[in-house]
Amino acid sequence: MIAGLSSELKKKIAEVVARYPKKEAAILPVLHLIQRETGAIGADEERWVAGLLEIRPIKVREVVTFYTMYHQKPVGRFHIQVCSNLPCSLMGGEKVIDHLQRRLGIKIGETTPDQRFTLSEVECLGACEQAPCMMINFDYYGDLTPEKIDGLLKGLD
């Protein structure tokens, strides 16, 4: 995968690295950029990033496993992250989670066999005024109801 990084992405990565007095500091943004293109940070990506930032691969592994937004294995094409924290659950968040599990036929933490959907439970997303809320990839959706979710899922291609 890593050999195929686009030259545009490599340019972007170089720009980001230049923002910091120490290369290592660029690891979070660099991993974000790479994951966007490769879908996950596997062992190849770890080694590549370690080489780029002149650190040991274990340092990259530490970061990848500490932060919840990095995936060691690819998620489905639509990654649904639903909030299960207090403000959302006060507004019916549990029902939303149950409905998503039933509709997608998978449990929290699973991916549909066709690799279309991954369902994750997350902590507060910082959109509590729109509780219950979730993200589909990087888009936020709030004031969720089972009907609204059905409409949203239908609209995805």
């Binding site: 932060y67 902590e123 910082g126 509590c128 005024e129």
Partner: protein
């Protein structure tokens, strides 16, 4: 991301949300038309760095990130002369459950924050600032990047700003999903490219911070108040709030109220007024049971404790805290055990694992509560929760230990009877 719920009525004069009605305020042209960047011009051309710091001190501006430390005093701890560069880190991690105010500032009024960053940096002698923004706020980060590019293009950032010889670069740095990185020293570690493990203090970041250099860390809302202090003066700002706690707060109200959303109101507005006048009270048919007044880490208040001023000292006085001013409203139909379960799950998940009392204590607490929730709670479980939570408090490197402990203690103590009625041989 949609930010539709900025209910800004009822409030006379606002500092941060004044022009939120304007759909394109995030564009520099619209911002300039509303008098934007005048504070920067005044600060850089008419004031001295020390003069700015004095004004901010006199304004009684206390940190909006949670701890309420006086901003001007924090700046003054940074050594005046240093052979190392100095840094500003803007805390836009916004991870405290219930909190969503900084997202509104960043989305609607990013130039206000940028002005605050420029003025703070000029005052402290900083030439590089990093905005650490939570990873999920990708769209928000893009908006900020765009605003920064516009500001640079107009000569408000970069080399010799307004031809004063003062240089400043500002970078956006996205986190990647870790609550602990909102804690200021974990933020520094994360920004340096490591896991977010808080540092031992002292040394404090003001002397040994980012890349071992003197560093100021301020919350988004704290910095967004600076332009108004510069333009209208410390007395004006102080007068908006209370004697030792000036200005306004953006209260974020969530839970089953009629109008959840953000409300910018004077520091010291009563909690009852926020819930019933501004947020419209509880939804029809719902009755108030309790309120978490300052984000999940703040000890809970019962329904009869809401006639209280919302400022740091008043809330500390009743054993709670104002924190991030995130008001989570809980209704009668919600079992306290459910609230406790959410609290316990959150801290068990987010403990960074560095300090044993927090790592083991939070997951032990969570296990007991899951057991209670499944109907297998045993006599003495509530006391055991109190014992465990008390053994985390004050025994960790960073204040996350207290944040995990205090809400559990307050829930277990204030709702002891209800919780004990869930136990196997409980009376209920």
């Amino acid at each position: 991301m949609a930010c539709s719920k900025a209910w800004t009525r009822h409030v006379d004069e606002k500092i941060l949300t004044e022009h939120f009605g304007l759909a394109n305020l995030y564009e520099i042209e619209a911002y300039l038309e509303r008098g934007g960047y005048r504070a920067v011009t005044k600060a850089l051309q008419e004031m001295t760095p020390d003069g700015i710091m004095d004004e901010v001190k006199k304004a009684g501006l206390r940190g909006r990130g949670g701890a309420g430390f006086p901003a001007g005093m924090k700046w003054s701890f940074v050594p005046k002369t240093s052979d190392k560069p100095k840094y500003l880190c803007v805390n836009a991690d916004e991870g405290e459950p219930g909190t969503f105010k900084d997202r509104y500032i960043l989305t609607h009024n990013p130039h206000l924050l940028i002005e605050g960053i420029i003025i703070a940096s000029f005052s402290v002698g900083i030439h590089a600032a990093y905005v650490y923004i939570r990873g999920e706020y990708e769209a928000v980060a893009q908006r900020l990047e765009q605003a920064l590019a516009q500001a640079a293009q107009k000569g408000y950032l970069g080399k010799s700003i307004l031809e004063t010889g003062f240089d400043l670069d500002v970078f956006v740095h996205r986190g990647a999903g870790a609550y602990i990185c909102g804690e200021e020293t974990a933020l520094l570690e994360s920004l340096e490219g490591k896991r977010g493990h808080p540092r031992l203090k002292p040394p404090f970041p003001a002397t040994v911070g980012l890349f071992q250099c003197p560093t100021v860390i301020n919350n988004v809302e704290t910095l967004a108040n600076i332009p108004a202090i510069i333009q209208k003066g410390a007395p004006w700002f102080l007068d908006k709030g209370l004697a030792k706690d000036g200005g306004t707060r953006i209260f974020g109200v969530s839970g089953p109220v009629v109008r959840p959303g953000i409300y910018e109101l004077p520091v010291g507005t009563s909690l009852r007024e926020i819930i019933y006048t501004h947020a419209g009270g509880l939804k029809p048919g719902k009755k108030l049971k309790a309120v978490i007044p300052g984000g999940m880490s703040a000890p809970i208040l019962k329904a009869d404790e809401i006639d209280i001023k919302m400022d740091f000292d008043s809330l500390a006085g009743v054993g709670s805290m104002l924190g991030s001013a995130a008001v989570i409203v809980i209704d009668e139909a919600t079992p306290i055990l459910d609230v406790l379960k959410k609290v316990a799950k959150f801290y068990a998940h987010e403990s960074c694992g560095q300090c044993t009392p927090c790592r083991i204590g939070t997951s032990w607490i969570h296990k007991i509560i899951k057991r209670m929730s499944a109907g297998h709670g045993e006599k003495g479980d509530v006391d055991e929760l109190v014992r465990l939570a008390s053994n985390i408090k004050g025994k960790t490197l960073c204040p996350m230990g207290d944040a995990a402990s205090l809400p559990v203690l307050s829930l277990a103590q204030k709702f002891k009877n209800e919780l004990e009625s869930c136990l196997k041989d409980g009376s209920g």
